[in-house]
């Protein structure tokens, strides 16, 4: 909560530092100075800035993020309208990353030092250093321009989801895979694994119950901290693939100097970050029964 309050102050101050008169920008070129002043009073931009902030905060607590200067619609409504698209893209990317990265990372840890492991380390390194916007363009060139299999942009059908979600997931896939590998290696060296082997437990029981479950704790933690990167990545991915999500909304808000909309999108991203980290904390309960919250 405190974090969100601080974020709201920071964003508010920052956004007001953007040069150029937003009131004039909103009106057509023919507007006279009088029109500008009248409109300024109408939307409350003539009051001192701290006063404007308190009005903003008061509305915020009621769930009202103000109205977009350009679209003249409630910011909350605009964001909520775009939210499903972003959630769809982000969860598709997260699921792809986990499904591919965790098995690969575990295999690499088991086959440490082999050709597979070296190849794994090399590929994940490439995956981590691949600039997301370039990857997006490469995929478009290969699958849309050359092969003509998949559409370059838009949202609606499943085929339109494929390229953006692969683009967004690659960095995380590489990150999670590397984390899984090192984490599994560490768990395999623990005495309780030796005990499990000595007890004569079946191999898949050791793998799923003892190894992977314990190895996931650091992986999930890092994932929570990387939610910011995921949101940032979705800004770029949405721009490349013309994906109608919150990221693109934020970018166009910044270009249009749409203050309430900029504030709203950044605030919502910060809120998502806080919430996801709360979920991460709760997921420890499932992963590690020793952790109990009062």
């Amino acid at each position: 909560m405190l974090v969100l309050l601080a974020v709201s102050v920071t964003v508010f101050v920052l956004v007001r530092m953007i040069p150029g008169d937003p009131v004039r920008l909103m009106l057509s070129i023919e507007a006279t100075d009088e029109d500008v002043e009248r409109f300024r009073r109408e939307i409350g931009y003539d009051k001192p800035i701290y006063h404007q902030y308190f009005i903003y905060l008061n509305n915020l607590l009621k769930g009202d993020l103000g109205a977009s200067l350009r679209a003249r619609r409630p910011v909350m409504e605009m964001i909520l309208e775009r939210m499903p698209a972003t959630i769809e893209l982000a969860s598709a990317a997260t699921i792809i990353s986990f499904l591919i990265a965790v098995p690969l990372g575990t295999i690499a840890a088991y086959k440490r030092g082999t050709v597979f492991d070296h190849l794994f380390m090399f590929l994940t390194m490439i995956g981590q250093s691949m600039p997301i916007f370039w990857l997006g363009i490469l995929l478009i060139i290969l699958f849309s321009v050359q092969l003509g299999w998949l559409p370059t942009s838009g949202r609606g059908s499943f085929s339109q989801l494929i390229l953006p979600s692969i683009t967004l997931s690659t960095f995380f896939m590489a990150l999670i895979a590397r984390m899984t590998r090192s984490s599994v290696l560490e768990v395999l060296g623990q005495p309780y694994i030796l005990t499990a082997v000595a007890k004569g437990l079946k191999e898949h029981v050791i793998l799923f119950v003892h190894t992977i479950r314990n190895a996931m704790i650091p992986v999930v933690t890092v994932l929570g901290l990387q939610v910011g990167t995921l949101l940032g990545g979705s800004v770029i991915t949405e721009t490349i693939f013309a994906w109608p999500g919150v990221g693109r909304l934020a970018v166009s808000a910044i270009y249009n100097r749409d203050y309430p909309l900029i504030q709203g999108t950044i605030l919502i991203s910060a809120a998502i970050f806080v919430i996801v980290n709360l979920i991460v904390d709760l997921s420890y309960l499932i992963l590690d029964p020793k952790i109990k919250y009062q």
């Binding site: 981590q128 250093s129 910011g228 990167t229 950044i266």
Partner: protein, 306 residues
């Protein structure tokens, strides 16, 4: 009972182990293929960036619309007709090779300068938080949490919209968004080292906090910070390209890989090389730095180097 060793002797010993540790790390690096590859890539790009005015065939901004979108290896249509566009030309007839060479300059400068800036601020804040502790620590760590909650790229986009595009502005933005990791690392390191006997001893001898931080804590935290630094240079280079790609990074007059890529994106159907080549440059540099940083981490880990 033998007399305790003199101050000088002990210092010599300390230096000796320090030097040989460094040498061992160096030897490890040279024996590692990935590290050598990374080092070579980074060295080549650094040379390219430094020598850009000498090795670039033409001025990266000289335009000639008659020569627009020439394929790689084709001759100029107008102007100097003997001139060959080795890597083709862009939609304004500018030589892509020259633009890519100058692009290395921007990338490396922004990467290094902003990583250094973050390092300086992060270390000061981390040192204050770790050393003073209490309220100061709580406040500074809350600041870190706050910074973490912002999506870095949105934050950078918003600040760049305020400041306007420019290389110096980029460095400022990245410094503001990048210091947290250093602060956290150094703070953790200090909390660990502060309670060790040799630090308690020097405090008892009346050493100033600043001298304790400089002489005892920084050298111990050095390897962690160096590794962080190398990764951050790579991240900042990617961020610069991303922001320039979105159109708020460096101004149009300065060639930047991200900008070239964004310009070329419109021509993926007709002039694919404009999208492929800048990305390759960017990725090779970033991967080179990652390879180097990764090997550095292993090399500086005293438990791994035997």
């Amino acid at each position: 009972m033998s007399p305790p060793p003199k101050e000088n002797e002990r210092l010599d010993n300390a230096n000796l182990t320090h030097r040989s540790h460094g040498r061992m790390a160096f030897r490890y690096l040279m024996g590692n293929t990935a590290a050598k590859t990374g080092l070579i890539i980074v060295a080549v790009w650094t040379l390219v960036a430094v020598l850009a005015p000498i090795i670039a065939p033409v001025d990266p901004n000289s335009q000639n619309l008659y020569n627009r979108l020439q394929r790689p290896l084709s001759r100029a249509v107008k102007g100097d007709t003997d001139f060959i566009f080795l890597l083709g030309s862009d939609s304004l007839g500018r030589d892509l090779l020259s633009r890519l060479i100058y692009g290395a300059k921007v990338s490396l400068f922004v990467g290094l300068a902003s990583a250094l800036g973050s390092l300086a601020i992060g270390c000061v804040i981390g040192a204050l938080a770790g050393y003073i502790g209490g309220r100061t620590d709580e406040f500074l760590m809350a600041l870190c949490d706050l910074q973490m909650a912002f999506p870095a790229i949105l934050m950078a986009l918003a600040i760049m919209a305020v400041l306007g595009s420019g290389v110096v502005n980029l460095v400022i933005v990245f410094t503001v968004t990048g210091w947290v990791q250093y602060a956290r690392t150094l703070r953790a390191e200090i909390l660990h080292i502060k309670e060790q006997d040799f630090v308690k001893a020097s405090r008892a001898l009346g050493a100033y906090p600043a001298s304790i931080i400089m002489r005892h804590i920084l050298p111990n935290a050095f390897s962690a910070i160096l590794v962080l630094f190398s990764f951050q240079v790579a991240q900042m280079i990617t961020m610069e390209a991303a922001l320039s790609f979105l159109g708020v990074g460096v101004p149009t007059t300065i060639p930047s890989w991200g900008r070239i890529l964004a310009d070329g994106r419109e021509f993926v159907y007709s002039a694919m090389w404009l999208s492929l080549l800048p990305g390759m440059c960017l990725m090779s540099l970033v991967a080179g730095i990652y390879f180097l940083g990764d090997a550095l981490r292993d090399a500086l880990d005293p438990l791994l180097v035997k």
